[in-house]
Symmetry: C2
Subunit: 251 residues, 2 copies
Amino acid sequence: MTTSVFSLPVDPEAQLWPLWRRAEHSILAAIEAGRVGAGDQLPPEHQLADELGTHRHTVRRAVETLVGRGVLEIRRGRGTYVARGPISYRIGRQSRFTQNMAAAGCRTGVRILRSATVPADAETARWLQIDTGAPMVTLALLRTGDDVPIVVARHSMPVDRFADFAERFAEIRSITRTFASYNVVGYTRKATRISARLPTPQEAGDLAISASAPVLVWVSVNVDTDGRPINLDASTFAASRVDIVFDNEEQ
Amino acid sequence: MTTSVFSLPVDPEAQLWPLWRRAEHSILAAIEAGRVGAGDQLPPEHQLADELGTHRHTVRRAVETLVGRGVLEIRRGRGTYVARGPISYRIGRQSRFTQNMAAAGCRTGVRILRSATVPADAETARWLQIDTGAPMVTLALLRTGDDVPIVVARHSMPVDRFADFAERFAEIRSITRTFASYNVVGYTRKATRISARLPTPQEAGDLAISASAPVLVWVSVNVDTDGRPINLDASTFAASRVDIVFDNEEQ
DNA sequence: CGTTATTTGTTCGTATGTATC
DNA sequence: TGATACATACGAACAAATAAC
């Protein structure tokens, strides 16, 4: 007699949940019991459906939810895998991306996705203390850790102070040092807004995450030492790949 | 001739996206163009499917994603509605839930979901600086704004200092004042960890959100004025209903 | 370099369950 | 109670990405 790795719960209480929730629970139980380990490949969907005595769509719903919970990871055409945990992304008042990833032992990369000069919408203008419609330099960056996309950062700066910011950044490849090239040194984060949602199609594509994997959205205003806003940073993190840690003591 | 409120994009570039993404885009476009406003009810799924010339399942996928993006809201048996925006939840070093919601003009409510004394797991013990397995008082609270569930807060406290915390809270109905009853006044938040994911079945039930609507998870350690950890607060927010704002200046 | 098998992704079909009014 | 609207579940077929040959 063989003991199956995946099987639906049989206790009558579980019958209250829909089938796809019970399938979700079965897969999670197999992982938590160590019957499948981090990085392991799951059986293909049709086989999982057979083992659980249910339909492939039901399994897909369960798997999709576990992807969104950060438990599984799907690679199309290859298979479904048990996810490795997120990287802790430590935030003080001045800490920046590269230091963080280095601390986690990750090789960082950055790529310019898009760059343009556009008129400021009302809300951005308010944060940057410029006029609505005033031109802004915008720069969308994809930052990676060990070649895995981590965050899309969209930076907006007033064009009057930072006209050729994008060109300089393309050369310098560091936000902090590009600001330094304008003699802006030691800027700090003022207000920060954090929210979470499912990704837009573009975000899902940029971050290479599935449509059901949430993003963590981080919008912060940076001010120079005179307190003047220099930049609005709207960053969208692949939530399953990071953990944001504020350490109030180290600020 | 009638102009339809919902219609699939026809430009050839759009053909690259799957049908459900195009349907998602159509619904979003109708909202952004003001053809349907905040709080309005959408046509039923079968009718939307007809208008978009596609299958009901395709529409459901689109709607589900927009629910996760905070754009729509589903009320089972009643209909699908355009969501109203999130409440801004302002966080300083000491600010607490009730003040925040009052500032947003919301009537707050709190209900005890679960309460128990349990042994500390390794990680919680480390945060609270107690021994692994040492007993903790745990208290799960559901906080509401205008009767809408906002957050499930799970508090853990060492039992040796706060033995009858749950009973006192049931009477006092305020975390701050319950701590004050132990002569713990003016405690502050030390480290905070923020992440986002899809809800567990229990969280989805507690918060009355759909399985595809992300939660924002907030874990913080509070310390008394001597720097001793008094409590671990693991709070799960319905992401579509709040925005968390850190104001570094007001801390 | 194409071909094929494997695996996940999309789409439509059909039926039934369940909450709300 | 009946009508309406969302939720679950199984079925069938094909598309698209990947890997192995």
